[in-house]
């Protein structure tokens, strides 16, 4: 009997030991999976970076969504064999990328030019109307023209003169200028209203300064009618899943637009820059972008132009719009930024 009890006890102990061993091995497996989350796998090597064109700098504009979409659009045009693909000066223009983007995305308040948005909108604009090259339709040229018209100017050649549209403009302008309302709205005889009553004038500026200058050079994607911008949410995806999505898009010749939370990008120089420039703004930005609940105060869009394996880790070509010498640009190890992914946008079949 005693022997039987001892045997049972030993069995129990053995089970506990086995369980502990299994648990330990599971932990060690998951630990090794964690370390290998950013491994090369079968990603292969794809480099579409040349198709994205020159590195640009958006400066203090909040137009990363337009810059990243313009680079992705350039890739699409190159895929179709656009004759100027090899020419660095050929760049889908930012005014064209923002031209049809409505709802407070299309305003450039002079001096405070922040205007957040979504790349899908920029892609829709460019797919719908085609794009001029930046040399014919430069954002600088447009700004100069806008400055000549008054302090604020909505950029929207698609705008109608309907009063509902006008009200949207005014509301959006109030948002963009950090005012609870724009003084003068409602009084159609006021100077302010005259100044703000700009869609027709904006269309005119666009046409005369930009539209006409690239009339013959507008690049239209041949398959524009059969494709559309698509977005996948990545917040609940693991890093390997995010990488698989990016790899598959790159394999199908796409250059995805990746939305990242800059706060979680592991590049010290970038974090130092963010801390210095935006210390007091972070919380407000989170609220502004609707990202507060996601714990992200600095959402940013970049275009992914390639993948390769380096020292056993996947690296991605990040085409950023902060100038050539920015720290978060070029071939970046996956471990530095993939976990910061928010969503991915690309041009796919309808």
């Amino acid at each position: 009997m005693l022997g039987m009890r001892n045997l049972l006890k030993m069995k129990k102990l053995f089970c506990v030991l086995i369980l502990a061993a299994v648990t330990a091995s599971t932990v060690s497996v998951s630990a090794s999976v964690g370390a290998g989350d950013y491994g090369c796998g079968n990603s292969g090597s794809i480099d579409l970076s040349q198709r994205l064109g020159a590195v640009r700098n958006q400066g203090v504009n909040g137009l990363c969504w337009a810059y990243s979409a313009a680079a992705a659009m350039r890739n699409e045009l190159c895929r179709e064999g656009h004759p100027r693909c090899g020419d660095a000066s050929f760049q889908p223009s930012i005014p064209d990328a923002t031209a049809c983007a409505r709802k407070n995305l299309n305003i450039f308040p002079v001096g405070k030019e922040s205007s957040g948005g979504r790349p899908e909108r920029a892609l829709s604009c460019m797919l719908g109307k085609g794009v001029c090259s930046e040399e014919n339709a430069s954002i600088e040229k447009y700004r100069q023209a806008v400055k000549g018209m008054g302090e604020f100017c909505p950029i929207d050649p698609c705008a109608s003169d309907k009063s509902s549209d006008m009200k949207n403009y005014i509301d959006n302008l109030a948002n963009a200028t950090q005012q609870s309302s724009v003084h003068g709205f409602g009084d159609e005889n006021s100077d302010e209203y005259a100044l703000l009553n700009l869609p027709a004038k904006a269309a005119c500026v666009y046409k005369s300064v930009i539209g006409e200058s690239c009339k013959r050079n507008r690049a239209v994607l041949r398959e524009a009618k059969t494709v559309a911008p698509q977005t996948l949410m990545l917040l609940k995806k693991s890093s390997p899943e995010v990488m698989e999505i990016l790899n598959n898009l790159l394999k199908s010749d796409k250059t995805p637009i990746l939305a990242v939370c800059l706060d979680n990008v592991a590049i010290p120089e970038l974090q130092k820059g963010l801390a210095a420039a935006e210390k007091a703004e972070k919380a407000e930005k989170a609220e502004e972008s609707g990202a507060a609940g996601r714990g992200c105060g600095n959402a940013h869009a970049v275009t992914i132009g390639g993948v390769r394996c380096h020292n056993g880790e996947a690296e991605y070509y990040v085409h950023n719009s902060w100038g050539k010498n920015a720290p978060f640009h070029g071939w970046i190890p996956a471990s530095k930024f993939i976990a910061a992914s928010l969503d991915v946008t690309f041009i796919g079949k309808k």
């Binding site: 020159a54 640009r56 909040g62 210095a276 935006e278 972008s289 050539k324």
Partner: protein, 128 residues
């Protein structure tokens, strides 16, 4: 202005430009413009490099900032302003783009009131 040719040697920490005359900066930084290296008098950009940017001064500048807009939308909008250019504005500089002629790549610089300038991303390096 935008198509100014820049040949960057040893990747300068500070670039100094005044009108059409472009100059080299400190011992670590040499800029050659159209094949000419030009010496220079102390400039605002040079002083900035020598003295560095104190975090305390940035914090006080930030507290005076205009409130940012509040969007009605709950969708995740992205803006992603260049942090180095935002920092340039903080220190009362004017962000500007320089374009490399061959590649068309842009480099962000921060121009000071005396016309001298520093590569914007190098501002981050001199924060104390």
């Amino acid at each position: 202005m935008m198509t100014r040719v820049l040949v960057l040697l040893l990747f300068p920490l500070v670039l100094l430009v005044n009108g059409s005359a472009n100059a080299s900066a400190n011992a670590n930084a040499i800029i050659t413009y159209k094949g000419v290296q030009i010496s220079h008098a102390p400039s605002e950009a040079q002083k900035l490099v020598d003295q560095g940017i104190s975090k305390a001064s940035l914090a006080s500048n930030n507290s005076n900032k205009m409130k940012t807009k509040k969007a009605s939308s709950t969708r995740l909008h992205m803006s992603g302003e260049n942090p180095a250019d935002l920092l340039c504005v903080e220190i009362k500089g004017i962000p500007e783009n320089i374009k490399e002629e061959k590649s068309g790549d842009e480099i962000s610089i921060c121009r000071m009131s005396d016309g001298s300038f520093i590569v914007s991303w190098d501002l981050i390096k001199i924060i104390k």
